[in-house]
Structure formats: C-alpha cells, structure tokens
Symmetry: C2
C-alpha cells in the first residue's frame, strides 16, 4: 500500500540531499504535551500515541515506541508504510543504531533541530560525525497539507496575589544562580518555566496554561520572545513596567546569533540543538534548568492558594459525585457523562480556566488501564457492579489540582475490597512518614510499595509527581519515583501527589490520590525532620475498606482524615450535601 505523505516527504528529502529524516514527538520546547502544530509524527505515521519517533529513508520507514503502545501502534501503523520497532525489546535496535546500519558513512541525516534537544542530539551523534547531520530543515512545512496553525492564544498576567513572587524577584534569584555557575546569561526554552518566571499564562497547549515563547535573561536585560499579537495593552504595559523587552518569537534566532563573548547557561535537556547551534561565539554552560527547581518549591502564598484551591475543587467534585451516585440507577450515566458532570461542577468555581488533564473515568475493567480515555465507542454505562475510578483535576488561577477517588457503585468482591484497602494502607504509610532533611522521593517511594509488595502487588509507575501551580500537571524535579533519576532531596514547599494503585487487567483498577506539601516537622539532636501536609480533602470510600486489614495507626489516620474532611468541606455545603458527606466520612 502507498502512503502519499511518505512519498511527498521522500521527494523533499531527495531535493535537499537528505538520506534519512527524523520526526520525533516533541515540540520546540521539549514539552510533555504539545500543540497540534507539532504533531507531525502522528500525521505522517497515523500512530496516535503520545511517545514515538519516526525515521524515514528513501526505501524504508520506522516507528519507535515503548511498551505502553505496542498493541495500539501495530494496529495504527497498518498500511502506513512504517515498520514498528519495539523499544527496549531484546534484539530490537534503537533508532540511532538503526540509522547507523542503514545510512552510508557520508550519508546525511536531517531533522528539524528545534524539536530535538541538545541531550538527545548528543546521544544520537555517537558513532557519527557532525557532517552527517543537517539540523535546519523542517520538511513538514512544505509536505504537510493542512498543517494546524502555530498556536496564538492570548497571554494574560498571573496576578501577584496568586503567584506570590514578582518577575523582578524571580529574575534576581535566577541571575544569582547562573552567576554561581560562572554564567552571565541564561536561555530559557521550557514553557512552564517561562510562564512561571514572568507570571504570565496562556493556553497554547490543551489543558496546559503555557504559551510558546523563549526567554533570554542577561545581567542587564531580560527579553521575552513571543508572538506580539498574543498580548493586549495591559500585558504590554506590565512587561514594560518590569523592564522586560518584548521581541517576536521568530526573532530569537537573530538575537542569539548576534550574542558575543557571553557565558550562556542552558539546560541541554530542555533546549533544542537548533537554539544551541546559534550560540557560536559564546561559551555554553550546561546544567539543569534553574527555574525548574525554583518553581518546584512553592512559596507561602502559592501554598495558601493551593489549600483554598484544593478545597474548592473538592466541593465541586463532591457535587459531581453526589449527583452521579444518586442518579446512575435512575438514568443512564456513561463514563463520558461522568467527565462532563464533573467538569461542569468545576467550571462553576471562581477562577476556573479548564481541566488540568484529560479526565480518566473508568468503570469496571476500564479502570485497570492506568491512562484510560473513554470515547463514544467504548464508553460503559455505570451499573451497580464494581468500582468507578475518577482521576481528574482543574486549572484555577489559585492552583492546579489532581485527585483520584475510586468508589464502589454497589457490589464489590472480597478481592476488590482487599485491594482497595491495600491501596489505602499504601497512601497512609507514605502520608504519615517523617523523614530526615536530605531524603529523596525515590527512597520514600519504598514506603508506598511496602503494603502492596507484601501481597505480591505492584503498580508499574512512580508513586507520585510534582504538580504545577496554575501550570503543568506534571512537574519536576520532585517525585516519588520508582527508579532513581536524580539525587535531589525533597525540600520544604515542594508538592507531590501520592497515588498508588492496583491494576488487574480485564478485572478492576483502584487508585487513591492525594496531593501533599513537604513541611518541617521538627529539629532535634538527630537532625531536621520533614513531613507531609495533605491538602486534598475528599472522602475515601469507607464501603470499600476492610477495617480488619488496618492497624491502629492506620485506622486513626483514616478516621481523623475523614473528620478533617467533614470539618473543612461542610461549611460550604447545603444541608443535603452535609448529610451525604456525613455518611461518607463516618468513623470506621
């Protein structure tokens, strides 16, 4: 079968003298979620998964993706002209190994240098010469008919009463930190870091509050590169008042090419090889994104806002859940309806700006898929058998929420009850922890797995992640990671989700997720100890708990958690809702 798109691309490759062309999944800022404009890999291969790399030569085409997507990719790639390469499977070459085997010694490998990071390029380059690469061609520009427009949504100011720290304060700290690394300027490409630094938000990417931009921070000057049409007069005035120079998005190339004799700090993981290639007359200093770490440590005003935000979010969630529970036996409610009902309640909250990620509403075996997304074809109608798992969140001016609850809709099996209780034990064990300053999330992850591992159960992901503040749903460097990715310990003010689960394919899925903030517990002769403050208050289904599996400390925790939940939420509810909540937060 013939893939017209491939034909056109090969034609372009031929004209430009390119032997192999790479199309990854990322955007020009190495974002986790990208605008439609950047979904070229999906366009050319038909593969819709979030992670994958396409590589095309004159006579072959390959798509590399990971274990999550093997089945889906096989189906979607049918007739596309692409061969599937299963990443990390024994005997399957990586795309760079494959390139080495199919590209001649003096062959030319091309790609759009904006969508490949410095780190990825360094990895790819091993075994090749610089001469093997042409990194300036975005061939999709000429071959992709109907390519979506580059996003140009409005940018707005994130008020100081939410953000807590002004752009001037933030830039001052950034300068201090890049100086400490011997730099005198700093290029920022990562979108949430830019949004955080400038206290600006946008909506260029679905469910995110970021906008496409670059920033250059020098000792005496701060420049923001973004589409001028996105800014109204208020924002322009704000930038002026804060002495921020505004330049068009595309002018970043001019500006960077003309920099000279600078020591420029940048993160190779978050900056494209294209951007770095512009800095010919400068010394480049590679290190972690400075702002990512600063942003991860929430300030007091962000924390206070988050507490309120999570409370409001829980009230909306409560109204949604109550509605579902009271009506699903009388009328038809599907998983898709659950998404709508909850989104509708959230949208009534002051400061609501959209949901923070695609809602996961999974009934029965659907919940066993960690990232289930219901659609018109597959959606279940709720019935009284088994669980309903809802993982959802909102974007609000005063924070970003992420919460999962799993409720029994009627009958559950003893196995399901046991699994639910084990997940609860897991949440409690980690939530109660006190830990010495200097402890990593990687080490603490062990505590959440302990009760599940005792029963031979594991979830194949980390226990939790950092959450943005009116920003991305996933944020680093903090996290309860299952594998060690870095040495950075948890710090006071970092927030994290705690979200262990049980996933039994074809049967059921259970996840309970709260968000916590690291705070100081006490200092004594052994050192300074930290602990977690839980800021999610929402009932955990007591009907699904087997109290005989909980020890005294765990029973005490769940009961006092429910008391606090009742006390915090009830002042904002009507009598009917209070009764509902009272029942849900009964002591066990």
């Amino acid at each position: 079968m013939l893939n017209e798109k491939l034909l056109k691309l090969r034609n372009e490759m031929n004209q430009k003298g390119i032997d192999a062309y790479i199309i990854p999944s990322s955007d020009a800022h190495q974002s986790e979620y990208v605008a439609e404009y950047f979904k070229g890999r999906r366009w050319i291969s038909n593969f819709t998964g979030s992670a994958g790399i396409a590589v095309i030569t004159s006579d072959s085409a390959g798509l590399w993706t990971d274990g999550r997507y093997f089945i889906q990719a096989e189906k979607e790639l049918e007739g596309s002209g692409f061969d599937l390469f299963k990443m990390a499977k024994e005997g399957v070459p990586t795309y760079s190994e494959w390139l080495k085997s199919v590209v001649k010694k003096d062959g030319i490998i091309g790609f759009d240098g904006k969508v490949i990071s410095v780190s990825a390029y360094d990895e790819l380059k091993k075994g090749f010469n610089d001469d093997n690469f042409k990194i300036q061609y975005d061939l999709l520009e000429s071959v992709w008919d109907g390519r979506p427009n580059f996003p140009k949504e409005d940018i707005f100011i994130h008020d100081l009463c939410y953000a807590g720290k002004s752009v001037i304060e933030k830039v001052d700290i950034i300068r201090e930190l890049y100086h400490s690394h011997g730099a005198d300027s700093y290029i920022l490409s990562s979108l949430d870091d830019i949004a955080w630094t400038f206290n600006l938000r946008g909506s260029d990417v679905l469910n995110n509050t970021t906008f496409y931009a670059y920033a250059l921070i020098e000792d005496n000057k701060t420049t923001l590169f973004t589409d001028q049409n996105k800014l109204n007069e208020e924002v322009k005035l704000y930038l002026k008042e804060n002495k921020i120079v505004l330049k068009p998005y595309d002018k970043v190339a001019d500006t960077l090419s003309n920099l000279e004799d600078k020591n420029i700090y940048l993160s190779p993981d978050r900056t494209s090889i294209y951007i770095q290639s512009l800095l010919k007359n400068n010394k480049v200093i590679h290190n972690k994104e400075i702002t990512t770490h600063l942003k991860a440590v929430k300030n007091e005003i962000e924390i206070q806002n988050s507490r309120e935000c999570y409370l409001n979010d829980s009230i909306a969630l409560l109204k949604g859940f109550k509605n579902i529970e009271e009506n699903f036996k009388k009328t038809t409610i599907t998983e898709l309806d659950v998404e709508d009902i909850i989104k509708n309640e959230r949208s009534k909250i002051d400061g609501f700006k959209g949901i923070s990620f695609d809602t996961i509403a999974g009934h029965k075996d659907h919940a066993a898929l960690m990232h289930f997304k219901a659609n018109e074809k597959n959606t279940y109608t709720l019935d009284t058998c088994g669980f309903l798992l809802v993982d959802s969140g909102g974007q609000y001016l005063n924070g970003t929420t992420d919460i999962t609850r799993t409720f029994s809709l009627g009958e559950i099996t003893p196995e399901q009850k046991k699994d639910f209780t084990l997940v609860l034990k897991s949440v409690i064990t980690l939530s109660r922890a006190k830990f010495l300053k200097g402890t990593t999330g990687y080490k603490l992850d062990m505590l959440a797995r302990y009760p599940l591992w005792l029963e031979g159960i594991d979830y194949k992901c980390g226990t939790g992640h950092g959450v943005g503040f009116f920003l991305n749903i996933h944020e680093g460097p903090q996290g309860f990671s299952v594998k060690k990715t870095h040495d950075l310990p948890l710090e006071i003010g970092m927030n994290l989700t705690i979200e262990p689960g049980v996933y039994k394919e074809g049967r059921h899925g259970i996840r309970t997720e709260n968000t916590v903030i690291v705070k100081k517990a006490f200092t004594n002769e052994n050192g300074t100890f930290y602990e977690f403050e839980t800021i999610s208050f929402f009932p955990i289904d007591i009907n699904s708990i087997d109290p005989s599996l909980l020890n005294t400390d765990e029973l005490k925790w769940i009961n006092s958690y429910h008391t606090a939940t009742f006390n915090k939420l009830s002042p904002h509810l009507n009598a009917d809702e209070i009764n509902w909540l009272k029942e849900k937060t009964k002591q066990i």
Copy 2:
C-alpha cells in the same frame, strides 16, 4: 616538642629528594582491617583510630581523619608534631588540596605505591602531573625501628563441604566474566576475594581469615603469589592438583612487569597503583572486582552451612548470656568479663577459629557508642540498672556470625522500653519485606528507618552489611546503605545483617541485629518477588518490649520468631537451659 620518628623520616625524604610523603591507613591490598606491619600511620603519628592519612613535609605534618575520631585524634596527636585536619568540615582542605598549597610546582610527592589504590591515586593526581609523584618508596622500611614482621601465618584449605564450589569452578566463571569485558587476564589483590577464589584461609590479620597474597588469572594459567613458607605439603599438593602455579609473594612484580600484549582486568578500588604501574605493555580494563560479586551470592552449600553455623553460635551465646544473667548479681562481672565469657562459650564449638571482630559489650551509656571497646580502665561492672548490649560473632569453618542483642539487666525507664520497642519494630518491618527483583538495599533501608523516624530517632550508619562466609565480617556489594553507593540490586543468596539502633549519648544504646538471606518468594503477573530468610535465632528481650506499641503483624512476627527460636535451639540444650529459653521466648 620533638617527634624523633618525624625527624628520621624527614632525613630519608631529604636524601630521596621527596618534598611531601603520604602514609595512609591501608595495607597493600586495600583491606578494611590490616596487619600490624602496615600500621605505619599509627606508628608515626600516635593516632590509633582505624581511618586516617598522614602527610609529612620538611616543615609540617598533617593528619586527616573523620568525625568519629576528632576528639580521640586531638588527644592522641598532642606532642606528635602533627596538626589535625578534620575531614569534611567546612573550610578544612582535603589532604590533596593541602598538598597543592604546600608543594612547589615541580615538587616531589612520595608514598609507598602499594598502599594507595589506583582510584585514590587518580583522585590525588588531579591538579598535579605524573612527574610530581614518586610512588616506589616505602620509607617506613628504613625509619621504623621495630617494625612488626610481615605476617606469615599458616594457610589451610577450606574444604569443599563448606565452600560448596571448587577453585576450578570459580576460576572458570571468573574467566567467562572477564572475557565478557574484553579481557584475557585478571589481577586479584583483595585478600578476601583471593581466599574465596582459592578456597584457602589464613590468619594474617586479626579476626580475619585472610592471608597476604596476589593472584593472576590468565586463560591458560592461574598463579597464586604468597609466601611459600605458609603452605604445608597438603596445601601445595592441593594447588598442584588444581593446576595453580605457586610463586613467592614478592615475585608478583617480576611476573607482571614481564606480561605483554595482555588485556588485563583489575579493580581500581582494590588494586594498588604500584601493581598497575607494572603493567606497562598491556591494556588495562578497569571495573568492579568480579569475585566480590560472585562471593556475595552464597551458594546452597554455604547457605546450609550458615544456617547450622548460626544455630551453633546461638547455643554458645545462650550459655554465655545465661551465665551472665544468673551470676552478675552474685559476683563481679565487668564488660571485659562479658567478652571473655562469650568467647569462651564460642570456643567450645566445633570448627571455631576465633572471634570475627572485636566484641562490643556495652553497659548503660557505653552502649551509646556505636563501636565501644571496653578496656581495663573504662570497663563497667554490670549492675541491675539499664541495658547490656552485646555485639559479637565468631569465625567457624562453616560460616562467620554477627549478632547483637540488648538485654535489660533489671530496671529500665519507660523511654528505654519505648526505644527498645521501636528498634524491634524497625527490625520487623524490614525482615517482613517482600520486594521486586531489582530492588536495591539502599531503597529497602527506608523500611527500617520508618518506625524510628516517625519518632524523630535516627542511627547514623547503614542498616546492615553483607557478611563473609568464614571470611571478613563486612562484605559487599550488598548492604542496607543509608546513602546510595551503587545501583546493584539484592540477589538471591546474598546475606545481610539487619541492625538498626537507638544511640543516646550519655544515656543508653540499643541495637538488635539478625542476619538474613535473600530468597525467592514467588513469581506472578507483577514480576518476581524476593524475601528474607532470617538465620539468627536468639531471644529478643521480651521484658524490654512494650507490646502496646506493636501492631498485630508485628506481634505475630515476634511471637512466631520466638516459637521458632525455641524449637530450633531447645533440642541442643539441657533441661536447665530449656527452662531458661522457655521463659525468654514466652509469647507476648
């Protein structure tokens, strides 16, 4: 004040044109414990601690040691002519930084290249040139009057019924592994690795079963370099039968200098720079010691022997403890006496070859010092107030033991009882763990700290270490380390101690230590899970436990542990001892 030894050394340095001379604490094999012959640093500085580095120039002398020894070193260095440098303290230079500041650009730094590892030399060399170093001079040889003799204790065969694997089998695997790294020969310097490989034992170092030797394993030849006088005819015949070439210890230099065109595998952490400097005409491949990892995974015969060994050891310990408990009120028993009583009981066991480390017998506040060693001056006489902590072990043909118990001798405070119970909770939490294949000891360490950290208590060391098999008391790479030192997961057959503690300076110290072996629990859809088999069976003081602090699982664990202890030990005891044990293993 004048240090004659320093004067003599400086004289020698002057004659040899050396500007600075380094004397570390290690021996020629980077051993943890070293023979008296190698204790030159102690001799010249008077500092008796186990870790420290002396550096001498024409007009100054410095001694570097770590936090454990600051107070002791200050006292001992008085009048020695040495200045104390407190390692890891802010503002204190490392010895290599200090050398950089005092040695001229073309100055000469000398040391005995045998006692500095390749890794340590690489670290030291930074900021210097190779020309700055003279690594062949052991100046102590001429200045140290009355230097102890190089040890020459007998070497004997560790029978296959204990070792489980023959030297031929072991060398075959070693060859396979160095081949997989592109090597065709392997130099072994680490003494316990050599003893393990050849199934030979000695007693050159106090409490250890090693002997001074090098080994060279080539594809068609295995050479052992050691003092011929140490071997009787039986051992010589054994070597011959196993096709092992025997050469004198000192001939290692000749042999290695004459090797050519080899790809030689060696561990830079365990091999001296002197040895490496001999390999001029060869390619050297650096990596972890192959044998250390092989040795860490005990084979079935070693495991079965260890079980028996720990049982016999517990019986001796029981007789000792019973004697102490029944007599300390009637007669004077000091901490030193406790050491003797227990050693005496152990020595009656078949196959006993000595204790495996200096016994720690600490009463009251003495036990708060993690590595307390009683002497004639400081020893306490036992009374009915507080705890007695005994950490001890034996070297037997069928294993090496390491066990700690803390017993109340009469009255303990509620705080002491709580602390004792917390330590027990810590032991139980980790001992009960099930964990996915691939999990590191570093991650599991968290489980032991959890119950203590909840109460703001920490112990400033790892939770446990590997134990040799009729070999060194400390063995790697396995361990429940507090800091991450490597990525190696625990494997089936590895043994480890679990030994959390509470140490309150000037008040009390509590430690409970068992040894466990990693074994497979089960495989299911989530992967393969491992668990621990405890092989130490000895009562844990029930009078010091507050059962109200234990949850159901913990109560179940301690009661079933005591049932097993009674069942395993009682068949080997007389009626009187059985009664004593019954009382000690009562259900709570």
